[in-house]
């Protein structure tokens, strides 16, 4: 086929009076589009291309089993989940307080929102032991403290980076059942350690430029006696 040249975007010759109702009738549009002129040029017939020859499909065999009752197939659902809406208080560089999980109470720096909707977060690791990690927005308090995150590049990190490795299929054998259940915990791949170091290097520099911020991130958050969470400004 000849390569298509760049075309100007198609504009409708029929302006909308209201959505769904055009200004011109069918016969007026016929005249405006010049179908009469094209027909006149082509001997009274609108030119048609012959349909492209379809590739030969193999002859289908009749199925060997017909179910007794006609069962309706459920409709296909093509909905894709949208990325969770990020709270306005959480912007890249915000210090977050984790509320659940292994690192509950830790104050942590927010890097970016991943396509799945989870938040990418880092301690930094050297400061409070929280590695590059995903965290759900619902289990997080966004404080109003921000860290300068301009020197940090997190473009290479996404959900696939954090997915668990698919377990290798073990051949069935009685020895496997009576032996140790799982192999020892896999050592963290060196590449992940390097990623942690590069992300944290720029962050730590920005953190150290603010007095007390390093100790702040190293300390855990807790409620003390007399403190009312609904009255706290974070």
């Amino acid at each position: 086929m000849a390569p298509t040249k760049e075309r100007a975007p198609r504009v409708s010759r029929n302006p909308d009076l209201i959505r769904g109702i055009g200004k011109f009738s069918k016969s007026q549009m016929y005249h405006k589009k010049g179908i009469w002129a094209i027909k006149a040029k082509n001997g009274g017939v609108f030119p048609r291309h012959d349909p492209k020859p379809k590739p030969e499909t193999a002859a289908e065999k009749p199925p060997k089993f017909y179910p007794a009752d006609d069962v309706k197939k459920p409709l296909r659902n093509k909905h894709k989940p949208k990325q969770t809406k990020l709270r306005a208080s959480i912007t890249p560089g915000t210090v977050l307080i984790l509320l659940a999980g292994r690192f509950k109470g830790k104050r942590v720096v927010f890097l970016k929102q991943l396509p799945s909707g989870l938040l990418l977060v880092t301690g930094p690791f050297k400061i409070n032991g929280v590695p590059l990690r995903r965290v759900n927005q619902a289990y997080v308090i966004g404080t109003s403290t921000k860290v300068d995150i301009s020197g940090v590049n997190v473009d290479n990190l996404d959900d696939k980076y954090f997915s668990k490795e698919a377990p290798k299929k073990k051949s069935k054998g009685e020895g496997e059942f009576f032996g140790s259940d799982k192999e020892e915990k896999k050592a963290l791949p060196q590449q992940k350690k390097d990623d942690q170091k590069t992300v944290d290097a720029a962050l730590i520099k920005a953190i150290e430029s603010v007095p007390d911020l390093k100790t702040y991130l190293g300390a855990r958050f807790s409620l003390k006696a007399g403190v009312k969470p609904h009255e706290l400004v974070f």
């Binding site: 210090v95 307080i97 104050r107 404080t143 109003s144 300390a219 009255e231 400004v233 974070f234």
Partner: protein, 133 residues
């Protein structure tokens, strides 16, 4: 035992209940047994129940229901704002407001400062104890 703060025209009061909580107003008229007409430079003149007012020591010199311009002039002449902010009551309220608006990071920094101050105090105390012993 005798009363010192009276409800009178020109008495500066603090609203202690309701949507205008914490506002400093001036009593410009008395409506009846229960209500006064109050006014402040940045609010519409409105009636308010005496129960919602806490009287202060400050009084300004105005006529009954002055025009806004005259009210503002009188308040500047009596320097109400500064007097209030320097008074012990006013200072306590300012500290309360500031504490309520503290960030999580601010609270952390205050904790560090308190620990530091306590350490210094304890050192001095230890020195004094040594010389006294």
């Amino acid at each position: 035992m005798p009363f010192k703060r009276f409800v009178e025209i020109g008495r500066v009061a603090l609203i202690n209940y309701g949507p205008e909580y914490g506002r400093i107003v001036v009593i410009v008229d008395v409506i009846d047994q229960t209500r006064a007409l109050v006014d402040a430079p940045d609010m519409e003149r409105s009636p308010i129940n005496f129960k919602r007012l806490s009287l202060t020591d400050i009084k300004i010199d105005i006529k009954r229901v002055p025009k806004k311009k005259d009210l503002i002039k009188a308040m500047e002449a009596a320097d109400v704002k500064n007097k209030w902010e320097k008074s012990s009551w006013g200072r306590k309220l300012i500290v309360k407001k500031r504490r309520a608006a503290l960030n999580d990071f601010d609270r952390f920094k205050i904790m560090l400062a308190k620990i530091k101050r306590a350490g210094v105090v304890r050192q001095e105390l230890a020195k004094l104890r040594k010389t006294a012993a």
